[in-house]
């Protein structure tokens, strides 16, 4: 299973959807996705728009795959419930969890 480096962060879509409420469809769409570059996507045999299972040492999430210009080996997940399921709560004495740079596995959702 190839490992990717996970980066989380703000996006315009997530920011714009936030005021519409966490339970709004816009917010769900804006946050429950994962971005990957086309090379990696093809190597994994995945399609844009497909749902994938994303897993770290701390948890997993089911997200919708999107294609984006990113360095190879890196995936991006917007801030939100999806990202939070993936990052750990250990802050290593800083108060800040390691929200970027985690190793993740991405696999197609079967069934």
């Amino acid at each position: 299973m190839p490992k990717f480096i996970l980066i989380t962060g703000r996006t315009a879509g997530q920011g714009e959807a936030l005021p519409k409420g966490k339970e709004s469809e816009d917010y769900r769409q804006a946050t429950e996705c994962i971005e990957m570059n086309p090379v990696d996507r093809e190597r994994l045999g995945l399609q844009a728009g497909q749902r994938v299972r994303v897993r770290t040492a701390f948890g997993e999430a089911v997200l919708v795959l999107r294609e984006k210009e990113l360095p190879e080996g890196m995936v991006f997940v917007p801030l939100g419930p999806g990202a939070n399921a993936l990052i750990g709560a250990e802050t290593r004495g800083t108060g800040m969890p390691d929200s970027k740079g985690l190793e993740v596995e991405v696999e197609p959702l079967c069934g």
Binding site: I5, I7, T8, G9, R10, T11, A12, G15, E16, A17, L18, P19, K20, G21, K22, E23, F58, G59, E69, L70, P71, M74, F76, L79, G80, P81, N84, A85, I87, G88, A89, E90, T91, R92, G93, T94, G95, M96, P97, D98, S99, K100, G101
Partner: protein, 421 residues
Amino acid sequence: MWIENVVCPFCGCLCDDIAVEVEDNRIKSVKRACSNGRSVFLHAPTEARRPVVDGKEVDWPDAIDAAARILMKSASPLIYGLSSTASEAQRKAIALADLLGASIDSTSSICHGPTSIGIQSQGEPTCTLGEVKHRSDLVIFWGCNPVEAHMRHFARYSVLARGKFTPQGRKDRTVVVVDVRPTLTARNADIFLQLRPGSDYEVLITLRAMLKGARLDVAEVGGVSVAQLADLVERMKRCRFGVVFFGMGVTQTGGKHWSIAELVALAAELNAHTRFNVMPMRGHGNVAGADCTLTWQTGYPFAVNFARGYPQYNPGEFTAVDLLARQEVDAALIIASDPMAHLPRQAAEHLNRIPTIVLDPEMNLTARVARVVLPTAIYGISAVGTAYRMDNIPLPLKKVVNSPQPTDEQVLDWIIERVKT
């Protein structure tokens, strides 16, 4: 009716030139705001909502009573959030924490908490955004993405803005972006340095060493060639007025506060050659205010605990993620934040186990699990108050529509009175 010079409370830019059209106590349209800001104004809830206790709608006195009982019964309460409410409410929240002997933390701890720690070891050469607008000829965005997160930052303050000594705006500036991926911000850069994820610290410390003239044994650092770094150092030394804006790309990766300390040290040392400043890109509209109010009332910007009757400070100990993940709190009061949506799941789950009180204009994920939900007016839209911009400039928030809900400040006052009696 158009209301002019409205301050948008969405992000740390606090753009104060927004025009809002209001009719029948509803916001009809918004001028000059970015898409985020527009969304805030247009989706502001105005319908009346009653407090909820244990899933049942109740009257305010009963809800306040329930909240106060939870807090008084608690041996180790947490007050968390604060960054999307006015400083007046933040001050009340701190007063309540002091009264209770609670822990209090703002969302700073998961955005620029490491920045505060870094500043505490190194200081912070900084300036107001107007200084950047008027003087900057080298602007570096490091690990931040204003095009998506602070959409009018370029135009109002940093890149396109024309100032007294930067009459040509964009043409007068060199824009450098340092990030791990080609963000929309990076597309606007003159120079883009794409770092290997998690190597900000290495690159920063290398830049410092190069500025000092140290000889190094390496050819590349963090995926960037030493030649490129040398070029950046030269540009930094030669510019007239430089500034580094930095975001969570720096604060949330490995080095955390030590990366900030290096960034600050680099900027400070550049002042031997030219003028150089740094500024954190603060996210929430009044997260800077949370730092300010906590600091003037307790001495510390976040991660404060009053258990012993006086403030103690320790990130990693009194920060929300740690307190929740280690299950060290037995009640929580969440103000204008949604930790169920924003904290790591392991930490957020504890809010399910303990009685939680939520003050928020909206029904959010935390409110879903809360024992007591106290719906309040929304700051800067249906409540007045003060908010602090990312450069700590205080701005007055307007009330553009009336809300049937009380403000955070009022509700906290009620809780304080109830706890006192």
